[in-house]
């Protein structure tokens, strides 16, 4: 089971869960992913300690995709 989460005021919110064998869940996840991107979120996949990758398409085979807000110098 893969998950798409968004870091927000609640800690994080699960936006979608899917498996490759469930086309409806995949479609819902793709929709949720696109909606987050349209709101300015950035999608990240953790690649273990010291590594993370910014992804522009929803990687369906990843167990966890994290949506974060942009950062800016303070």
């Amino acid at each position: 089971m893969s998950r798409l989460i968004r870091m927000d005021g609640s800690g994080h919110t699960t936006l979608a869960e899917w498996t490759a064998e469930d086309p409806a869940a995949v479609e819902a996840a793709l929709g949720a992913f696109r909606a987050e991107l349209e709101q300015g979120s950035i999608a990240m996949v953790s690649r273990g300690p010291g590594h993370a990758e910014h992804v522009r398409e929803l990687p369906l085979d990843e167990p966890l995709v994290i949506m974060r807000r942009p950062i800016a110098g303070g």
């Binding site: 800690g11 994080h12 974060r68 950062i71």
Partner: protein
Amino acid sequence: MSAAGALPELADVYWRPRMTPERLRRRGRAWTLATAAHVVPFLAAAIGMALLSPAALPVSLAALAHAWLIPALYARRGATVTRSLAPSAEEPERVSLGLLGDLVDHAARDLHRRTGLVPEPGRLGTWLVGEAGALLVTGRRVSCWCVRATDPEGARLPSGDRVAHLLLALRSDEEGFATVANLAFSGARWRVRRRLPRRQRAALDAVS
């Protein structure tokens, strides 16, 4: 760290040259020169006044105080990047710390629990990532970077999420991260350490 993909936030600071180890060294040297430019005239004035006349000793002492205070104030401004922001409610804090804990190893989790800072080794040096900024330790120099997650909910992200935002951005593009962040101070480790909250000094001490 992965070099694949530059930070999208770089588009917001397109005029800044991308940070490199050499550029970082140059900026560090510039900070050292600026500190010297503040300190040396006051020291010279203090010594000169004392030699000219013992009656000028109070002025001399005032000049010495300025030579000490000005770099200390800069270092204090730098150290504020590690400050903790107002916590959220208990449950969001717990959830966010759980996610952050999944992103780091046991030693980093432990240091974060004790100091509020997450250590992250990188190509530019070792980072100590907080909620509203990060310290970059390179040998005896510490660079203080002011950077935070933009938060449409009005700074209501829980603390673990604030750190996780910066950590993920740093891990995806370290040099881009240092380009987006604002350099608040760069100077001697001891200067920054003195200005850190007591509990955070252990994080700096843990970085060799």
